[in-house]
Assembly symmetry: C2
């Protein structure tokens, strides 16, 4: 690709940004943000070194002063994305009130929040990870596995305590996780929801799906504000 083949369609109005404090300063940061946008829109293989450099306002050769290869730019984004999600999930668990129901709600809110706050990063981290060599994909895959187990543990605990009622916690965790992952594909400022509305609503869905006994089912309304887990 030299010049854009056609107008972007995958993600129009979404802000091109990375989590706080992780964007490198100067040119390297501009390269990373350009890659975030282009990889999300056209994919890793659909973006050339010259596209990347052009979007960052530099010559293509200059890119190699900051990254040894195109793959390393993707690797940094993929790792950033998985790290941020895992960090948020862990923090959510720490801050959540005790009990599987509140913890599941907190996890889902954190997952949905992460995917709504950084949809481009989530998209690249998930959809382009396959373009990395196994060695460079491994760290992200390890983080993904850890994140998955956080949810699975909460679900299993909830079933053991009689709070949740699912025959197969693994399948339930997969289904719940799937809801949140897809948020990156459609959420944006053009949607009639705030990120907290989606996060809260999805947390309610997760509890319903898990058959959480005494949890307010009608809390799935369009109430704004995060108000994390004020239910026991």
């Amino acid at each position: 690709m030299t010049t854009p083949r056609w107008e972007p369609r995958r993600l129009s109005a979404v802000a091109v940004e990375l989590p706080e404090g992780v964007t490198p300063p100067g040119t390297r940061g501009r390269i990373l943000l350009s890659a975030l946008r282009l990889f999300a829109e056209y994919g890793f293989h659909g973006t050339s070194i010259r596209d990347l450099a052009g979007a960052a306002g530099i010559n293509s050769a200059t890119l190699y002063a900051h990254y040894p290869a195109k793959e390393h730019v993707l690797a940094e984004l993929v790792l950033l994305g998985h790290t941020e999600l895992h960090r948020r999930l862990q923090q959510a668990l720490v801050e959540a009130p005790p009990g599987p129901a509140a913890q599941l709600a907190a996890l889902v809110r954190a997952q949905v929040g992460a995917h709504a706050d950084f949809p481009l990063l989530a998209l690249v981290a998930n959809a382009e990870l396959h373009a990395l060599s196994p060695e460079r994909a491994a760290p992200a895959l390890a983080l993904r596995e850890q994140s998955r187990e956080l949810g699975l543990r909460v679900l299993r605990l909830g079933v053991a305590q009689g709070v949740f009622h699912v025959a197969d916690p693994l399948l339930a965790a997969t289904a719940i996780g799937s809801m949140g992952m897809q948020v990156a594909h459609w959420f944006g400022p053009d949607q009639p929801y705030t990120r907290d509305q989606v996060a809260d609503t999805y947390a309610g869905y997760a509890l319903q799906l898990a058959g959480a006994a005494d949890v307010p089912a009608k809390k799935t309304a369009r109430a704004p504000g995060a108000t994390p887990a004020k239910k026991g």
Copy 2:
């Protein structure tokens, strides 16, 4: 790419096949099946004309006797995938017992079934659609919109009838649809579930998520067999 960079990771044990009766005979069919596998594994831009031809056992120039360009091969796959899903959803609605609960269950079973039966096709149809020009993506996008509305209508009807209890049917439909879409990313013969087990379980999840009042919540067990919608 000339020779495989590394072993396939995205989808290992999944059969490379298309829905019954749609695979073209002869060389054109071999091209299409090769594209199904390679596009799913490496993406459209990650697969070269020579990869495609080599996998089909022909010279790269021969490909142009069957398709005018690489993009047309992808376009055929993308349209095939969206057509098959829409066809199954429509048929599921026709065959389903009356009532929003049974209809929602039937839709989810059909969606999950389609993604479990043809994960490669679902993956290509969804993840590589962005590589098509707007004109060639349009037919698939139209089908996608129609499929989406099938689910949305059932949810809205169920809410209106007091069978479902969700504040925002659109968001609920999105969440439910997201569960099923992701099935293509993980389901395969290496999983400890049959396609019907996943389909039935996910149908139960959807009803739970939607707050379906009087629906057997414990039917989410690992009971094999499709047995479509024997509940009212």
